[in-house]
């Protein structure tokens, strides 16, 4: 296992709400599948969804066996709670720190297996690929500055999302789209990159996530007139509507002057005072801590200020139902992959379940592939390692001159992405963003590196991450430009309707040196659910 941070720091740790699965007799695979497909605005591959909903309950029980402290009903069975876009209660949770408990459970259980070797704080700079076959990775050992080639017959990318492309995001510092950029540069396609999810309830300034479970437990979203404004947008689901529709609703309300004004932008009130202290302490204790620590408020007596914030990436490395990419031996799972589950918009609590199901699927497929594959020969790997080590050293460690600060380029990219590729997009905004990204890439070639040490050089890491981010940002923006409709989280002011005749397809972006990415389109797989109008 190769990770640029120690495993307990992976961003899964911050996930709060829960993992969705069919756990109750009154629920059904068909309903979970339909909710997911409708939630995706019919961009999901329905065969993948149908397989997913069958595996999710199995993985929930596996986690429980490994010690995950799922919250319980009085009869001792695993509890479920309501969540956005789900027609019945099916979100399994561990208080409001589901991701924390899941990550620590998996990590601690993995310590049991001496067959697992870990390379902690190793930053993968390149995939080793020859004849469209993946042979391993080149990783920079952050601590010593040494480059290692780690050869493997199968490689699984599980590198998470790309929130740090945006200035206002729930994502931690490490979410820089590394796996997506690595696969992209190796020749794999990036699918549906225009589909970026904005979560309705982030804290202003920090962007810290306030879980959807707050609304699941009964919280109200109120505008500056004290109105539960969602009755004008999603009257049947109200606060439990899907994230893309609610984020657009809030943004529209802001534009029409019904948002609260604050030092860090406009916001709405998320009110849980009516739930009472007992429910809050039992179901939402972490939210109470966050309110207290970061805002000095007590959510028992004060409403929470919230605004839409970048949160999740539906797009990712083009992979099939077993995580296989078009490069033999390269697999992808979790947020960095796009297996066709979430389509244009992900329902809350499907992501943690996705990690479990497709992590397992990719693991099994990768193991099978490794058992049958022939090992890599030393010669090409040696050469590739030396080339890569020289490239990074030459480009960064031994760089002389340069005037641009990494932080300045990164912050400008983030502001530009927020403005041009946010909740609502326009052709002009996206075209301008393509230009801006081009300008930033040019400036990136002239960055200044002040840290000349080999030991734990985090400036090189920041430069490598910015390199990856500029790469994937281009795929996001060009894909968004080309999709001239509004579907799921991709909302075009100039094309406000969904267009199934032209765009019931996946966008797949391929890298081209010095040019805009090449876009190809692939039909969505439809099995049982014909696309309908998406209202809640």
């Amino acid at each position: 296992m190769v990770s640029k941070v120690y495993p307990m720091r992976s961003h899964t740790v911050s996930a709060e709400g829960g993992a969705a699965a069919v756990m109750r007799p009154e629920d059904s695979y068909q309903t979970h599948a339909f909710d997911t497909i409708k939630g995706s605005d019919y961009l999901a591959d329905q065969d993948v969804v149908e397989a997913f909903v069958r595996e999710a309950p199995v993985e929930i029980v596996q986690m429980e066996h490994w010690g995950c402290p799922w919250s319980r009903d009085p009869d001792g069975k695993i509890s479920v709670r309501p969540f956005g876009g789900m027609t019945t209660w099916r979100t399994v949770f561990a208080a409001d720190k589901s991701g924390f408990h899941m990550l620590h459970t998996v990590f601690q259980t993995s310590l049991k297996y001496p067959q697992i070797t870990r390379h902690d704080e190793a930053f993968v700079t390149k995939l080793l690929v020859e004849d469209s076959r993946c042979l391993g990775v080149v990783a920079l050992d952050i601590r010593t500055g040494r480059f290692d080639a780690i050869t493997a017959k199968s490689v699984i990318l599980a590198t998470g999302g790309l929130g740090r492309l945006y200035a206002f995001t729930t994502n931690g510092n490490i979410c820089t789209g590394d796996g997506m950029a690595l696969a992209y540069r190796a020749g794999a396609g990036l699918r549906d990159m225009e589909m970026v999810q904005f979560h309705p309830t982030g804290l202003p300034f920090t962007g810290i996530l306030i879980t959807e479970a707050v609304r699941g437990e009964g919280g109200y979203l109120l505008n500056n007139e004290g109105e539960r404004f969602l009755k004008r947008y999603v009257p049947n689901k109200m606060e439990l509507g899907p994230r893309d529709i609610i984020s657009r609703a809030m943004t529209t309300e802001f534009e029409e002057g019904r948002g609260f004004e604050g030092p860090h932008g406009k916001y709405m009130h998320l009110d849980v005072r009516h739930l009472g202290e007992k429910v809050i302490d039992r179901k939402l204790p972490f939210m109470r801590e966050l309110g207290r620590d970061y805002l000095g408020i007590d959510i028992v007596t004060d409403p929470i200020p919230v605004r839409p914030v970048q949160h999740y990436m539906m797009g990712g490395v083009d992979a099939d139902i077993s995580g296989a990419t078009e490069i033999a031996g390269l697999y992808a799972a979790g947020e960095c992959a796009n297996v066709g589950l979430n389509g244009g918009n992900r329902l809350g609590s499907n992501s943690l379940a996705e990690c479990l199901v497709f992590g397992a699927a990719a693991g099994r497929a990768a193991a099978e592939h490794a058992a049958a594959a022939r090992p890599a020969t030393a010669n090409p790997v040696d050469a590739m390692l030396w080339d890569e080590a020289r490239r990074v050293e030459g480009q960064y460690l031994e760089k002389k001159g340069g005037q641009e600060r990494i932080g300045a380029i990164r912050e400008e990219m983030q502001r530009d992405m927020d403005a041009g590729a946010g909740v609502f997009r326009t052709k002009e905004g996206l075209e301008k963003l393509v230009e801006q990204l081009g300008g930033l890439r040019e400036r990136f070639e002239r960055i200044k590196i002040e840290d000349t040490s080999r030991t734990f050089n985090t400036e090189i890491v920041a430069a490598l991450e910015l390199d990856f981010m500029l790469e994937v940002a281009q795929a996001v923006v060009v894909s968004a430009l080309a999709r001239e409709e509004s579907r799921g989280a991709h909302a075009r002011r100039d094309f406000p309707e969904r267009d199934d005749t032209k765009y019931l397809k996946h966008t797949v972006a391929y890298r081209r040196e010095g040019l805009r990415p090449q876009l190809e389109y692939r039909d969505v797989t439809i099995t049982n659910f014909q696309p309908q109008a998406r209202t809640y």
């Binding site: 601590r143 480059f147 290692d148 080639a149 050869t151 790997v381 080999r454």
Partner: protein, 128 residues
């Protein structure tokens, strides 16, 4: 395999050392060391008492009385800190619900005061 592993030995770690005055840098550390230190005057007091018992008389009554008064605050602090922590250490359940730590601490202090009263009255009753 590694590129140029020979030119990249593990970096020289800086080994942190606790300064000798570590316990003066923080109020909590100081109170902790004081708490531990109280065992010294108490030990000396007990040895002195044992000596007097072995001589079956108070060898130097005034000195012993003065020393006892000096040791009293140390003894009280020792007992106070020890009993205050009982709530943290003792965890019992009555009828499936955990007993509140405050109740446990209160019971310990109650036992202490009760025990002191009993022994005090006994000594007064036995005094010639």
């Amino acid at each position: 395999m590694s590129a140029d592993a020979e030119t990249h030995p593990a970096p020289r770690l800086y080994r942190w050392r606790m300064p000798a005055n570590w316990w003066t840098r923080n109020r909590h550390y100081f109170l902790y060391v004081l708490r531990e230190f109280t065992s010294l005057p108490l030990a000396i007091w007990l040895l002195w008492l044992l000596y007097d018992i072995s001589e079956t008389r108070l060898v130097q009554p005034t000195a012993f009385a003065v020393f006892s008064i000096v040791c009293l605050p140390f003894a009280l602090y020792h007992s106070w800190t020890f009993l205050s922590l009982a709530g943290s250490i003792i965890h019992i359940k009555v009828l499936d619900r955990p007993v509140s730590p405050r109740l446990i601490v209160a019971s310990q202090f109650a036992l202490w005061i009760g025990g002191t009263l009993v022994i005090g009255l006994l000594l007064l009753w036995l005094a010639p």
